[in-house]
């Protein structure tokens, strides 16, 4: 162990970085292996997540009623510490944009971080182009509200309160402003799906939305909504590593207790 620590020290890797590296490294071969296996054998069964199942029904309801769907990807952006959460929100937007382009459902996406604006616009544009109607893309369907969290919440509250919104999807990085927005949605009887990774905000999500995506469930959007092999493979890789972590914890407890 001391020898290994010396090598890592010479490479400029501290103990904490070494642990992170050890967690990261198995992902690469595992993802490749599982991706290949799923391509050959097909998707494994996924446990039902009610939020993703009911999202389809909410989108159908919005299409039939001619009302709008609002999508928020949180107050984080690309290139920040919460990029993964923002990308999870973008994956859900990709699914809704595809549905919207195919059925004519009006979708409004709002962003708080300007770095998300061109990416979200691109997702909407690509969805229209994929359906063969690039001219159907409306640049106004993605709106930058404000980079200030409270001002962003106020802008979204206005959309949820005054536009004819049937479904509100808020998945990404949020703080307390989540409740300001979701409560307006709840009061207006809007179907709501919310999800975030912060344990402090999750009670707000649970209490004010119809379906809450808890923590890592938001990263499963690609597998559940888009059915992409790589996303299903990464879910399987996460499960393998989670099992490894649990075993490590149990072995650690045993070693400590017996020592």
């Amino acid at each position: 162990m001391g020898f290994l620590a010396e090598i890592l020290g010479n490479l400029g890797i501290g103990q904490q970085h070494a642990l992170m590296f050890a967690l990261l490294l198995p992902f690469f071969p595992l993802l490749l292996l599982l991706n290949r296996r799923i391509r050959e054998r097909g998707n494994p069964p996924l446990r039902p997540i009610p939020a993703y199942e009911d999202l389809e029904a909410y989108l159908g309801e919005a299409t039939e009623s001619g009302r709008t769907v609002h999508v928020s990807m949180g107050t984080g952006g690309i290139g920040t510490g919460v990029t993964a959460e923002s990308l999870a929100g973008l994956t859900v937007l990709e699914h809704i944009a595809g549905h919207s382009a195919a059925t004519g459902l009006k979708t409004v996406a709002t962003v708080s971080d300007p770095s998300l604006l061109p990416v979200a616009q691109d997702v909407m544009r690509e969805a229209c182009a994929a359906q063969g109607y690039p001219e159907a893309y409306d640049p106004e369907c993605v709106r930058f509200v404000s980079s200030d969290k409270v001002a962003y919440a106020a802008g979204v509250m206005d959309i949820l309160g005054h536009d004819k919104v049937s479904c509100n999807v808020m998945i990404g990085n949020f703080s307390d402003e989540f409740l300001l927005m979701s409560e307006v949605g709840a009061r207006n009887a809007v179907n709501q799906v919310g999800g975030t990774t912060s344990p402090q905000i999750l009670p707000f999500v649970y209490a004010s939305t119809d379906h809450a995506l808890i923590g890592e469930e938001i990263f499963a959007a690609g597998a559940y909504l888009l059915g992409k092999t790589a996303h299903v493979a990464s879910l399987a890789a996460q499960d393998w590593l989670r099992t490894a972590i649990i075993l490590t914890i149990l072995i650690g407890i045993l070693v400590r207790s017996l020592a």
């Binding site: 490479l11 400029g12 890797i13 970085h17 590296f21 967690l23 990261l24 992902f27 690469f28 993802l31 290139g79 990308l87 973008l90 994956t91 300007p114 770095s115 604006l117 061109p118 990416v119 997702v123 106004e140 993605v142 709106r143 930058f144 509200v145 980079s147 200030d148 409270v150 001002a151 919440a153 106020a154 206005d158 005054h162 409740l179 300001l180 979701s182 709840a186 009061r187 990774t197 344990p199 009670p203 707000f204 649970y206 209490a207 004010s208 923590g215 890592e216 938001i218 990263f219 499963a220 690609g222 888009l226 992409k228 790589a230 990464s234 879910l235 890789a237 996460q238 989670r242 972590i245």
Partner: protein, 219 residues
């Protein structure tokens, strides 16, 4: 020949952003883990470049706000007069900010308009927490029953009345907060960390292309 050229151009347009993202992502990862002077300098350069790109994105955001609200005013959509107020205020702050962000007019606007408005909006949170708690505490499922029971025990354990009732309730409150609650939070954090790593690895390995360009999105 022209068809071949077009195919090559499309291929480059699709592959180049992905290859660049993979290369720069890998470099940033090496920069994070290893202490090597040249790589650290290159990593620093890309971080600074990202800040500049985001600054340009802010300009795009401003343009988007102008387009959305101008269209609303022209079409006389509901609340169009608020759009006039928004554009007028945006113009006023921009003009006031020309001498610099420390200009007294800008400071006044932020101190006496922006911050009080923020505080007023945020103060709504107290009332919203009450209504959300009411909604969350309805017994709609077995999960909600557990939620209500836990909330009641923790609430009684936190207030002085809990001590009057005896030591059991405060002790139960401490146990809930220290054992199941902490365990749950740690479980969520570990899951989120794995999900975040998986997202990054998918981008690094070229499975995901969420950064736009032709054929963007996930594969």
């Amino acid at each position: 020949m022209r068809r071949l050229g077009r195919a090559v151009a499309v291929g480059v347009r699709r592959s180049l952003p992905m290859a660049m993202a993979m290369a720069i992502g890998a470099l940033m990862l090496i920069d994070f883990f290893f202490d090597e002077r040249h790589i650290n300098a290159l990593g620093g350069f890309f971080l600074e470049s990202a800040v500049i790109v985001v600054a340009f994105a802010l300009l795009l955001g401003l343009l988007n706000v102008l387009v959305v609200h101008l269209r609303r005013i022209i079409k006389r959509e509901g609340g169009w007069f608020y759009s006039i107020a928004l554009l007028a205020m945006a113009l006023m702050v921009m003009v006031a900010g020309i001498p610099g962000p420390d200009n007294s007019a800008v400071v006044w606007i932020f101190d006496y308009i922006q911050f009080p408005l923020q505080a007023a909006t945020f103060s709504l949170l107290a009332f919203f927490v009450a209504t959300a708690a009411y909604r969350g505490l309805r017994l709609r499922s077995l999960e909600a029953v557990a939620f209500v029971l836990t909330a009641v025990v923790v609430l009684i354990g936190q207030v002085p009345v809990g001590r009057v009732l005896g030591d059991v309730v405060p002790a139960l409150k401490d146990w809930i907060l220290n054992v199941p609650s902490t365990a749950g939070v740690r479980g969520i954090i570990i899951g989120v960390a794995l999900g975040t790593i998986a997202t990054g690895v998918r981008v690094l390995m070229g499975f995901d292309r969420p950064y736009g360009g032709e054929g963007g999105g996930t594969q």
